[in-house]
Amino acid sequence: MLKFVRKEPMAVSGTIENELRAYISSNFLFSESGFPYSDDTSFLQEGLIDSLGVMELVEWVSSAFNIQIRAEEVTAENFDSVSRLAAYIRRKTAPAEAAPVLEETARTHGNGL
């Protein structure tokens, strides 16, 4: 039976950028020296992350921050830099905007993608 539940965001405001930098350094840059770019650096223009990387990022963000990401939200505006992505995550995890998650959907296909 379907029921709505509200999931609380896991990330604490102010640490999101750190988490993003750490994840990207480790999973896309294979870097041992952290994230050597500014938070406004475009992932796509600088070649830090390709389209498959964006798919990986979407899946990880959805899981790590416990948010439901809609297809139309996967844009450069939301996903193309640490700053943009952090702002997007903050908007999605703001209590007033936290959307209810349909459990059935989440079970059959993860975060609703």
């Binding site: 498959l52 964006v54 798919m55 993608l113």
Partner: protein, 335 residues
């Protein structure tokens, strides 16, 4: 010279002669093969390459191979066979479905599709395809593939793909191109011929091909030509209108998928001009004025070309060695 909409016009007769001479020089003298094998799909690229190969080697030294499988559009085989007959060569049919079943191509692909759409069942008439966002010029979208299924009543559903599902669908589907490559080489080696590739510049440069699949060839006679230039050669070589007017498809997924929808995201007549402009350093403002677009739209297209070339560079990489290795030479080598 300023940018204009005629920059891609070519002298089709001169280009044909140049390619034909290069094919003879490369295949007969440098590779020391006796002729060529061309995989024909009923599309314009392979039709042009077959015509070029016939001019280079003659109909007795060319094999036209049709390689359909379970998901191929039946019209492709009809058009390919008819065209080969008109060219004076007998098209050889090799249905690769049993080989693909042996690899588990369909089962592996469908397993991944069912993780996204549990109701998907090819045996009941469901069809599937993967596509990119359509509106390249209209907004800064990201190239994240979606999966579309079509149920037996024709109702479509689309969901974006998780990486694991996307990679499995692509890897399984790529058995098709790699099986075709193996079959092309069977016929080539049986006759001491070379495999003649059919990729155009768009496919080669932007990475719309399968490494060691349709890119597994000996010569690439049209890989330097934009798609719109291939059409110019097709007209000069008298490729039938039924082939020239056909919408280019992937002919890989069971649901019909145009190449524009699957990968390129722009009509060829627009994309080719914009790509040429980017390659030759024309400022977006100048190009926008000629094309009737905004500067932002032209810049989006430029960015897309750069990203695709960078993302797919791996596909064009030769095997990497870490010491001196002997390269092919112009001399005859042991097969």
């Amino acid at each position: 010279m300023g940018f204009n909409k005629r920059v891609l016009e070519i002298d089709a007769a001169a280009e044909t002669n140049r390619i034909v001479a290069a094919l003879r020089q490369t295949v007969l003298r440098r590779m020391r093969r006796y002729g060529g094998v061309v995989g024909i799909s009923g599309g314009v690229d392979s039709a042009v390459v077959l015509a070029l190969a016939l001019r280079a080697f003659g109909p007795q030294k060319v094999i036209a191979l049709m390689l359909p499988e379970n998901d191929s559009d039946p019209e492709s085989e009809v058009l390919a066979r008819r065209y080969a007959q008109a060219c004076g060569v007998t098209a050889v049919l090799e249905n690769i479905t049993p080989a693909l079943e042996g690899f588990g191509c369909y089962a592996r692909r469908d397993e991944a599709i069912r993780r996204v759409f549990p109701e998907y069942d090819a045996a009941k008439g469901y069809k599937a395809k993967i596509v990119l966002p359509k509106n390249l010029l209209e907004e800064d979208t990201v190239n994240v593939f979606s999966l579309t299924i079509v149920d037996p009543n024709g109702v479509e559903q689309t969901k974006p793909l998780f990486p694991r599902d996307f990679l499995q669908i692509v890897a399984a589907s790529n058995f098709k191109q790699r099986t075709r490559m193996a079959m092309l080489y069977y016929h080539a080696e049986s006759n001491h011929y070379a495999v003649i590739g059919t990729a155009n510049k768009n496919e080669h440069g932007q990475g719309f091909f399968v490494k060691h699949g349709d890119a597994g060839v000996d010569v690439q006679p049209i890989a330097h030509l934009y798609k719109t230039q291939v059409y110019q050669l097709a007209e000069y070589l008298k490729v039938p209108e039924e082939i020239r007017n056909r919408v280019p498809t992937t002919d890989t997924y069971s649901a019909p998928t145009s190449q524009q929808e699957f990968f390129f995201r722009l009509p060829f007549e627009v994309m080719d001009l914009l790509w040429f402009a980017q390659e030759h350093g024309y400022p977006p403002a100048e190009v926008a004025a000629v094309m009737g677009l905004t500067e932002v739209q032209v810049q989006r297209a430029y960015n897309e070309f750069t990203r695709k070339q960078r993302t797919t560079a791996y596909l064009r990489m030769a095997p990497v060695s870490f010491g001196a290795v002997q390269e092919g030479t112009a001399r005859a080598e042991a097969s």
